[in-house]
């Protein structure tokens, strides 16, 4: 009968040590996340009631501070407009990079700048729009659409990079199959590549939307702060991050509690977006 040497004691100890180490590191990484969620729910849920979502902030020093209706609508409207700007352009850039530019010099330069844009702090985008559109008084001073432009600048590199990854996942055999049928490249792109990549493109875009929804800095000097709900894009518009920013810096507990409630609302909105992104991803045929 053949015998093989048993696992040595040293290997067993090393194995156990490394496994424990990785488990501890994982827990350390999760703890802050859980704490954030815990405090958000503990402090924020108390602020939630029907009035909280259906009334505007009053701005009165005494008495009822009001809810966050204007902030919720402002965030939805401005992020929607930013998405309308950033997603088509971003997917278009990614299509160019993957289907046409490939490894060319221009494509490489574009890719490099997109990477640089990804690393630009959001406050810089806010300042940029402030200087270019607000200080110069293009169509008034502070305006919701300027906030959207700042948000779209923030979203653009995220959309480009995620779309590029997804488009690269589309197998070349599909492109070849379509080209070999005598399809012009634009038809291959629109009829074969885009539909195959669609779930992934949606996922990447939704994650960019979620990121934009939580940004304060790009809106601070562009859309500014206002109490009332309104849908005029040329006027100032409230948003959840700015509402939180303002309320937290107040000395009244009621306002700080409203900030917690607004923060919880924002997290729930982003969570819903992420869940939708996951559901779409699950239906993907590529992942």
């Amino acid at each position: 009968m053949t015998t093989l040497p048993a696992v040595s004691a040293r290997r067993r100890i090393t194995d156990r040590f490394m496994r424990s180490l990785m488990l501890v590191l994982t827990i350390v990484a999760i703890v802050p996340l859980i704490l954030i969620l815990y405090y958000l729910i503990r402090e924020g849920i108390g602020a939630w009631n029907a009035d909280f979502f259906t009334t505007d902030p009053t701005g009165r020093f005494l008495g009822d501070p009001g809810g966050i209706k204007s902030a919720i609508w402002g965030t939805i409207v401005m992020v929607a407009l930013a998405s309308l700007i950033a997603i088509p352009i971003g997917v278009g850039v990614a299509l160019y990079l993957v289907e046409f530019g490939k490894q060319g010099t221009f494509a490489k330069i574009v890719r490099y700048f997109v990477d640089v844009m990804t690393g630009v702090p959001s406050v810089v985008f806010g300042l940029f729009i402030y200087i270019v559109l607000v200080v110069t008084k293009v169509g008034g001073t502070f305006a919701a659409w300027k906030g959207s432009v700042a948000l779209s600048l923030l979203m653009l590199p995220v959309v480009v990079r995620s779309s590029e990854v997804v488009l690269n996942l589309v197998p070349d055999s599909l492109r070849e199959g379509a080209l070999a049928l005598g399809a012009p490249r634009w038809r291959v792109t629109f009829r074969v590549v885009l539909p195959s990549a669609l779930p992934g493109l949606v996922t990447g875009s939704l994650l960019a939307v979620a990121r934009a929804a939580g940004e304060t800095a790009p809106l601070l000097f562009t859309a500014a702060f206002v109490f009332g709900t309104q849908f005029d894009l040329s006027q100032r518009m409230n948003s959840l991050p700015l509402q939180i920013f303002n309320d937290v810096s107040q000395a009244q507990d009621r306002l700080v509690q409203r900030a917690w409630g607004a923060a919880l609302t924002l997290v729930v909105l982003v969570l819903i977006l992420s869940l939708v992104a996951r559901l779409v991803q699950r239906r993907s045929r590529l992942a």
Binding site: L179, L181, S196, L286
Partner: protein, 294 residues
């Protein structure tokens, strides 16, 4: 080119150059009454001739000065060890080779007497005239069985064709109709590997090309699916000129009329399949077909 040429009487097969941009010239040859030649062409195919064909990947010289004649309505097998350039050569015929970054080809590929590499020839038209079936079945994953076959027509922008009829006739031509006629709306990737490959063949013949290139069409399939593909090839050659790349020498012996042996990018020998496998002129061919290398 005079349009009269392509509709000339069936007794005289047209030798006029088919313009890849125009619909397929349906030059039908009437079968002589009583003749039971099962291999007689139903549609006169078109010959392909390679003259001084060279192909490169960057600095790598993959196909070296090949001259080769593919006869109309015949199956020509390309055999040779891996990396000998047979796939590259075939991909030069429908100009798919140039899709690979850094790849280029020189020389002539003539479809009858039209050089597919000459100026003014639209590469998209070339690929409509020269269809291709790939090694790995590649149905479009987002499309149903019906849409996969119709994709050939829709992607190439063909107009004035009854798509439904063409899909049915193409699926029948690929021997898949009976298996899928009740589930045309289901995804094409739900079929088995062999069915997927026949779906891809249906997709290719839906465009009605002049020539069909098959790059190891059965190498990813089981023996029964392979047999079906081989029977299909014998049926298809009555309408098309077929170039078949294969690693399987039995397959070449079973379906090919002529066989070409390639080695290190060069064409060593091209002769009738019988001669290649029994009495080749070149010693290297004999060594390869008898399994001494490769």
């Amino acid at each position: 080119m005079n349009p009269e040429d392509v509709t000339s009487p069936p007794s005289a097969p047209s030798s006029a150059a088919p313009d890849p941009a125009t619909p397929r010239a349906e030059t039908r040859r009437l079968e002589v009454g009583g003749a039971r030649d099962e291999e007689a062409p139903i549609v006169q195919g078109h010959a392909v001739t390679l003259r001084g064909l060279n192909a490169y990947y960057g600095e790598t010289h993959a196909v070296k000065d090949v001259n080769l004649d593919y006869a109309a309505n015949r199956v020509t097998a390309m055999i040779g060890p891996s990396g000998c350039g047979k796939s590259t050569l075939v991909r030069c015929i429908n100009r798919m080779h140039e899709e690979i970054p850094g790849a280029r080809a020189t020389g002539e590929v003539n479809l009858d007497d039209l050089d597919l590499y000459s100026d003014g020839v639209d590469v998209v038209s070339v690929r409509r005239a020269v269809g291709m079936v790939f090694q790995k079945p590649n149905p479009f994953p987002t499309m149903s069985i019906y849409d996969n076959v119709a994709a050939g027509l829709r992607l190439s922008g063909t107009r004035g064709v009854n798509v439904k009829e063409r899909v049915e006739s193409s699926l029948k031509g690929a021997g898949l109709w009976e298996e899928v006629k009740d589930r045309m709306g289901q995804p094409g990737i739900g079929l088995s590997g062999g069915q997927q490959q026949r779906l891809c063949i249906a997709r290719t013949i839906a465009v009605e090309p002049e020539v069909i290139l098959m790059d190891e069409p059965a190498s990813a399939l089981d023996p029964i699916s392979t047999l079906k593909i081989e029977e299909l090839i014998l049926e298809l050659k009555r309408r098309y000129t077929i170039v078949l790349v294969t690693h399987n020498m039995q397959q070449a012996a079973r379906v090919a009329d002529t066989t070409a042996f390639m080695l290190n990018g060069e064409l060593v020998e091209h002769a009738s399949t019988e001669k290649i496998f029994s009495n080749p002129d070149d010693e290297r061919t004999e060594q390869y077909v008898t399994g001494k290398f490769g």
